[in-house]
C-alpha cells in the first residue's frame, strides 16, 4: 500500500511550491491530472506586480513573497528568468490623474518604492508607448519571472527533496473517517495519508466537494495574445489604469470594461510579447471568441502603436481561481481534519507562489512566524460576509 505524510493535489506553481516546502518536514506525494504547470500556471503572464495589490494586508503578503524571489534561483538551482525591471501602470486620460495620485500616495505610505512619472519620463523609459499616454505610476520593486520555468524549478527541487510526482493521475475521491482525512483514491491507486493539501486552483471546489467541504472558487477566464519574437522593445511590465479597475471590480459590475479588458504587456526573455488580457466568468469554456481577442489587440495597439505590425502567433486561455475578495484561501477546513485548502490566488498566483509554500508548511508545522499572514487568509472570512 502507498502511504504519504501529505498528498498535495495540483501541480501548478502553487502545488509545486507547497510540495517543495513541505518535503523539508514530510514524505510528500504530489498528484497532477495532466502535466506540471500546464493549466493556469502555463497560460498566464509573467509579472510579479507589487503595486497592483491593495494597500494593507494584500501588499504585505505580496512583499513577503517578493522577498523570497530575491534568492529563489539560487535556492532552486536553476534559472527562472527572474528580472527586476520594475513595472508601470499607464494612464490614457487626465480623468485618472487624481485617482492615480492617491494610488501612488497610499503605496508610498505602505513603504513601497512607487512614484508618478510624467509624460516625458514615461516616453524616456518606454519609447514604444503612444504619445497620448499622459503619465504612469512606476514601481522599482515590480519584477518578472518565467512561469513555465517557475513550475519546473519548484517541481525539480521538490523531487530532489524526495517528493514523488504523479502526473497524469486524477483524484477520484478523498477518503475520510470520523471527520478526518485517511486517504486519497486516484485513477492509479490508493494513497493512505492523514493530510491532503488542495492546491487545485480553479478546480479546488471540485476537490473540496470530494471531502465534503464547502468551498466556492470560481474559474475566471483570461486570454492573452503571444507574438513572434522581437528585439527588446518593452522594459519591465506595463499595465493600464483600466486593468486595475478590472482587477479590483468584484464581479461583472457596471464599472467593468467589456470582457474585463485591461492591458498587461511584457516581453519574455526569448523575445515574445505577452499581450493581455481579459477577465470573464464563462465556466470552464476555453473557446474564446474572436471578439475578445480582437478587443485585447485593439486596446493594446492603442497604448503601444509599435505593436501594430507585430505578428500574433497564438492566444492562450487560462482559468484564474477567483475567491471574491482578491485573496487566496490558505486554511484547514473546519469540517474535516487534515484537509488543507491553498487555492484561489486568481491573477496573483505567480506573485504569491513562493510565500504560499511557506504558509502551508507554517500551517501544518505550527510555525509561529507565519501565523499573522495566515489569519487573514482563513476560509471563514468569506463565509462570515
Amino acid at each position: 500500500m502507498n502511504t504519504a505524510d501529505a498528498v498535495v493535489i495540483g501541480g501548478g506553481v502553487i502545488g509545486t511550491s507547497i510540495a517543495y516546502r513541505l518535503a523539508e518536514y514530510r514524505k510528500v506525494v504530489l498528484i497532477e491530472q495532466g502535466e506540471i504547470g500546464a493549466q493556469t500556471s502555463g497560460s498566464c503572464d509573467k509579472a510579479i506586480f507589487l503595486q497592483s495589490k491593495k494597500p494593507g494586508f494584500p501588499i504585505k503578503l505580496a512583499k513577503a513573497s517578493r522577498e523570497i524571489y530575491e534568492n529563489l534561483e539560487e535556492e532552486l538551482g536553476m534559472s527562472i528568468e527572474f528580472k527586476t525591471n520594475g513595472g508601470m501602470i499607464v494612464m490614457e486620460s487626465e480623468a485618472h490623474m487624481e485617482a492615480m495620485k492617491k494610488f501612488v500616495k497610499e503605496r508610498r505610505k505602505a513603504g513601497m518604492d512607487v512614484r508618478l512619472l510624467d509624460r516625458q519620463e514615461v516616453h524616456a523609459w518606454q519609447p514604444s508607448l503612444s504619445s497620448h499616454i499622459i503619465g504612469a505610476s512606476w514601481c522599482s520593486q515590480d519584477a518578472e519571472v518565467n512561469p513555465l520555468l517557475l513550475s519546473q524549478a519548484f517541481a525539480r527541487a521538490a523531487k530532489r527533496r524526495g517528493v514523488e510526482m504523479r502526473t497524469h493521475t486524477e483524484v477520484i475521491d478523498i477518503l475520510c473517517e470520523h471527520q478526518k482525512v485517511v486517504g486519497v483514491q486516484t485513477s492509479h491507486g490508493h494513497i493512505a495519508t492523514g493530510t491532503v493539501v488542495n492546491a487545485a486552483g480553479p478546480f479546488a471546489s471540485k476537490i473540496a466537494e470530494m471531502a465534503g467541504v464547502g468551498l466556492t472558487i470560481m474559474p475566471r477566464r483570461g486570454a492573452i495574445l503571444i507574438t513572434e519574437k522581437m528585439n527588446p522593445m518593452i522594459h519591465g511590465n506595463i499595465l493600464c489604469s483600466q486593468y486595475i479597475a478590472a482587477k479590483h471590480a468584484a464581479s461583472d459590475t457596471y464599472d467593468m470594461p467589456s470582457y474585463g479588458i485591461g492591458l498587461s504587456l511584457g516581453q519574455t526573455a526569448s523575445g515574445n510579447l505577452l499581450i493581455g488580457g481579459s477577465r470573464e466568468f464563462k465556466g470552464f469554456d476555453k473557446s474564446v471568441g474572436p471578439e475578445v481577442l480582437s478587443a485585447i489587440a485593439k486596446h493594446a495597439s492603442r497604448i503601444a502603436p509599435v505593436l501594430h505590425n507585430v505578428k500574433v502567433i497564438r492566444s492562450m486561455v487560462g482559468f484564474r481561481p477567483f475567491t471574491g475578495d482578491g485573496l487566496p484561501i490558505i486554511d484547514q477546513a473546519k469540517e474535516v481534519e487534515g484537509f488543507i485548502i491553498a487555492a484561489g490566488h486568481e491573477g496573483d498566483g505567480i506573485a504569491l507562489a513562493p510565500i504560499t509554500g511557506h504558509l502551508v508548511a507554517g500551517l501544518l508545522e505550527n510555525q509561529e512566524q507565519y501565523q499573522d499572514l495566515l489569519k487573514p487568509l482563513r476560509l471563514d472570512r468569506l463565509q462570515a460576509v
Binding site: G34, E35, I36, G37, A38, G42, L148, S151, Q152, T167, H168, L225, T227, E228, K229, S270, I275, V288, P290, E291, L293, S294, A295, A297, K298, A300, S301, L307, H308, N309, V310, K311, V312, I313, R314, S315, M316, V317
Partner: protein, 102 residues
C-alpha cells in the same frame, strides 16, 4: 507519411534539429524523455519545442515520431498539443480591426 518519418527518426543524429523555430535538438528532447516526460505537451513545457512562429505546424509530426520511437509507441490517452487562435500568424492591427474573421 508516418512510415517515412519513422525512417527519418532512425537516421537522425543526436544533433538533428527537431524544432527550427526554437532550435530544439533531438538530444534535448531525448534527455527529457529519459527524465520521464511522455507527452508532447510535457516536452513543450520543458524544452520550448513547438513554441515558435510555426506553433508546431512543421515540427509536430516529427516530434510525435520521436516520442513514439522512444516510448515504444505507448501513448498516454492525455490531450496532446492543441491548435490555438489565430490559425495563422496575423498582425496585432489586423486582429484589432477584424473583430470577426480569424
Amino acid at each position: 507519411m508516418n512510415f517515412i518519418l519513422k525512417r527519418v527518426v532512425k537516421l537522425m543524429g543526436t544533433d538533428t534539429v527537431i524544432c527550427r523555430c526554437e532550435e530544439v535538438m533531438r538530444s534535448e528532447v531525448v534527455r527529457e524523455l529519459e527524465h520521464g516526460a511522455v507527452t508532447s505537451k510535457a516536452l513543450k513545457l520543458k524544452t520550448r519545442v513547438g513554441m515558435g512562429v510555426c506553433q508546431g505546424r512543421i515540427c509536430r509530426p516529427l516530434l510525435e515520431q520521436v516520442i513514439s520511437f522512444y516510448t515504444g509507441g505507448t501513448r498516454l490517452p492525455s490531450p496532446d498539443l492543441k491548435s490555438h487562435h489565430p490559425v495563422r500568424p496575423l498582425s496585432v492591427i489586423e486582429l484589432a480591426e477584424t473583430g470577426k474573421d480569424l
